[in-house]
Point group: C2
Chain length 189, copies 2
């Protein structure tokens, strides 16, 4: 893997992933992560509040949700707005060149209870961010909350499939499929 | 408030709530909770894995979800099965005589980040338990997952309203209302 990465937060995430794989999450310190990334501990803490957060983007994805929903055209339904978020996520975060990282990241999270807990809480923060962004577009409170639950479920499904080693589809394509499946399942409830 | 309670886990929860209100969550130990309840530390740990869990029923509600869904009649739709869970919860857990406890419990959780985090994770465990119980009733995987998200959302709405000091409606009634509202919101997504 190439060591050079354009952004500090990506370099830190890559370094952390390598260390978690090699020596385990519990045995890895923030200082080791920063050193391997060629950065300082204080740079680490400018990007992430703690070690647990390093594989979770430190809020970047939450910002993307707000942007994606703000960019949806007037008159779009709540889940159509969510489709814009999945599209933007595939274009800006879960890109083809991040696929290997995504696969390895999922394996590391699955193996560690603390990271699984952070992952679960992150899902809740995504839901809250999506619900708030939908409300800012005029969607009534409870409808926004329901659409956010369904949207984040589609997001999780798409991510599970995208980070599967054998899957070559783009995140945007998997997001569209997942959203279609979630809509169909909702109609059966 | 009457000090005597029939069950150890309820006595421990009541004692914990009183102590959290009086001296704060962080300043309260498991030993203090057990002492106030007239029980031992080892009895505490037979009911709850840690201090954070004492206000969350230690798995009782998860069991109720499985029972409620198993009791729904054959041919019921996924959200109709969820209605049985809300009904059973109102009958067995969030009863009228627990209303004061519920109101105070909500205030204590809202005031403490650790308890808010546990509450959030508990919601995810309820969702997983509901989804599994629906699958055992033959509901396909993704439909079960969607119904569980919607069902737990209705549950949370009902609990928010029930634990509101001014609200005199039963949990079962609030659950029915919430489920109707969630269904209506879903149709607008």
């Amino acid at each position: 893997m190439a060591r050079w990465q354009p952004h500090a937060s990506e370099r830190l995430a890559t370094a952390a992933l390598e260390l978690f794989e090699q020596q385990g999450y519990d045995n890895t310190t923030v200082i080791q992560i920063a050193e391997r990334a060629g950065l300082t501990k204080s740079t680490f803490f400018r990007h992430f509040p703690d070690k647990r957060e390093v594989l979770f983007g430190g809020g970047a994805v939450t910002g993307l949700i707000a942007e994606g929903i703000a960019a949806a055209p007037a008159g779009a339904g709540p889940l159509d707005m969510v489709a814009y978020v999945l599209e933007a996520t595939g274009r800006e975060v879960f890109t083809a060149d991040r696929h290997d990282f995504g696969t390895r990241r999922s394996a590391v999270i699955a193996a560690n209870p603390e990271l699984r807990e952070r992952d679960a809480l992150k899902g809740l923060r995504l839901t809250a961010a999506m619900s708030e962004a939908l409300e800012r577009r005029g969607i009534p409170g409870l409808t926004a909350r329901v659409a956010a639950e369904l949207g984040v479920l589609a997001w999780k499904l798409a991510y599970e499939r995208w980070s599967d080693e054998a899957n070559g589809d783009s995140f945007a394509e998997l997001g569209r499929q997942a959203l279609t499946e979630v809509r169909a399942a909702t109609a059966l409830c």
